[in-house]
Homo-oligomer: 377 residues x 2
């Protein structure tokens, strides 16, 4: 065992006051994806990020039914077996929380304090929604399609079942699925057992878990999670912009080995093949860049094909760590709609849509590589 | 949707200053088990608590081998197939982090800031260790058995592979397993793929993940995680008591529905069947008690049988919430070795072995039950 000096760099992590007990309660319940899990094309079960607003509800598959009603001519009530008997699609989809990166804002909006790793890329299996809407006979004048979960709670004084809507046009897109399996297995409780909606390209709040009803409306849906929450607003009371599709983001697997408490990385001098993933819900990723000087100079990373149009793309960069010292590694993604990750956070009331470039503190040169475990014999 | 007043009770959660950025980094990586998951006898994959000191290492099962060496007459090198070909045992085992409850201490030890839910109860499948030690021919004078993982990092200045040891007597107990499956499936990366040790009854730090070698020693093992970390010490520099088996603890599924940010619970007036689990690594659970007044008056809960001697026991209590108002629900476990959960935390330098009674803030009477989802139609 060697003595090394751990660098304290976490002071640069967040600039507003320390995390409150309320935020901690959310942080120990929910979890992001440890960045080393970026090495997997498909995120193994248990590593995908999770944000559960209220409680995971107890649901029995045998009692479960989904109703499709509202402004339709032929309301449907479907069992889980009915849904599984329909045409099935399997799709790799990257999901990211709209609040990813929130904890880096100052002042920090009070909610789940994500640092930047609230993401995952799973293979979802389900049946497309559009043919079901067609069977139910959406009537003229339909506006929104409301997805209601079996999870209930209180948020900002509003007692509610978790509900989100899509416009009829968005809900009718062919990639929107009612999913009952993840990575080839039935949904586990925390991912929405037995059924959830998957809306590829959109931030996580859209993918309603524990789905129990789909309601077509002839007026705009005004539920809490739709019109109060999930808006980009910089001033209290303004209408703001609704949060929809994911901004581009690239993340890297931090190279080297971590210090337990600071998470500072230590690497050897030499060439390191740095890898990561990049995604966007607003276009295809066309460029990922890498920097080892905190974002002053950028170099193009190599990009690989994605498993689906809605799945992240792997990227690699051979980083030549030539000198001992401290480095700030960064990654930056650009999509074909022209969206580029900004260098800094964009403050807003809810702390949504933040996709500032990732920054990883690395020390080159210490400690020396220790090839074998300490042997107690 | 109804307007209700969310109670701010989290101020009673932790009494020392707010959580630092370093603690937050650990809190968003690792996660406890959401308390509603106490409803499952066997914790579904992805809900079991996780504490990963360094990074999850990349391991290929085909390259993997386990060496059993050191103070033995016939060192062994085993492939994963070799291990799977041996006699297999499946055992339900409750695992809890030794630092569970740490965030409630004041001043708060700097490490993973657990509130009290760092637990899980999985079914582990593996082969008993004792016959392997016998095959390897442990030589006379053997003292400890050291388990070394493939995960490396730096902690308090010490560059190390994660390592823990057991005395030869403890390592030779029949319930100690080398496990390659959880809940009937191969270990996922975060639980130690492809192999870990399971030491039923002991706190989590003992169950070394990503196990690559077992080394019998003829002197006492002095690795960082064995002699520096995981001791109950109240004064810097004292020898202290090593952390070994789990203290008794009971936890309940918080009844009612939560407020998003405070996690305060709201329930209706009337009888509520409260359920939970209780376990101890120091004896069998013989009593669980319930209180609705913060622990002044206690009533006995009903106890069910456990799935194995090392698995938690389910308990239930019919709580009659007769009056509107605020309540503090508590649960308290006693084992047959006479260990009882204390009312308050016991401060120590590392924040280990805390098993103070759980306290759940509940408001009876508001909001009114909302039977149907808001319908946007």
């Amino acid at each position: 065992m060697k003595e090394v000096t751990a660098q304290r760099t976490a002071g640069t992590l967040i600039s507003s006051p320390d995390i409150t007990p309320e935020e901690l309660q959310l942080a120990v319940r929910n979890h992001s994806m440890p960045l080393e899990a970026l090495r997997y094309d498909i995120t193994p079960l248990g590593l995908h990020y999770l944000l559960i607003h209220f409680d995971i509800p107890p649901v029995s598959a045998s009692d479960f039914s989904l109703t499709i009603g509202g402004h339709v001519s032929k309301p449907l009530v479907l069992s889980l077996d009915d849904i599984k008997a329909r045409a099935a699609t399997t799709l790799a989809v990257t999901l990211e929380c709209a609040g990813n990166g929130r904890a880096r804002l100052s002042p920090r909006p009070m909610s789940q304090p994500w640092l930047g790793e609230a993401v995952g890329n799973a293979e979802w299996t389900g049946t497309p929604l559009a043919p079901l809407l067609e069977e139910a006979g959406v009537r003229s004048g339909a506006v929104d399609v409301v997805f209601t979960g079996l999870d209930r709670g209180i948020q900002r004084g509003v007692d509610q079942w978790y509900e989100r809507s899509l416009s009829l046009a968005d809900a009718s897109r062919p990639e929107v699925l009612l999913a009952y399996a993840i990575n080839g297995a039935p949904l586990p409780p925390q991912h929405g057992y037995p059924l959830r909606v998957i809306v590829p390209g959109w931030y996580g709040m859209t993918h309603v878990k524990w789905l129990r009803s789909i309601t077509v409306t002839d007026t705009a849906f005004d539920g809490y999670q739709q019109v109060t929450a999930y808006h980009y607003r910089t001033v209290q009371g303004e209408a703001g912009e609704p949060v929809t599709r994911m901004n581009p983001r690239a993340l890297m697997v931090p190279p080297g080995v971590p210090e337990f408490m600071s998470r500072t990385r230590f690497v050897e001098k030499g060439v390191h093949s740095v890898q990561g993933r990049a995604w966007s819900g607003k276009g295809s990723i066309v460029k990922v860049e890498f920097s080892d000087d905190g974002g002053k100079l950028w170099s193009a990373a190599a990009l690989e094909a994605s498993a689906s149009p809605y799945s992240w793309r792997r990227w690699t960069f051979d980083w030549d760590a030539t000198k001992d010292g401290e480095y700030e590694l960064c990654a930056r993604a650009t999509d074909d709609a022209g969206n580029v990750q900004p260098s800094d956070t964009k403050w807003n009331l809810e702390g949504v849509e933040n996709n500032a470039v990732q920054r990883v503190a690395v020390v080159v040169g210490a400690p020396n590589q220790q090839q074998a475990p300490a042997d107690g014999d």
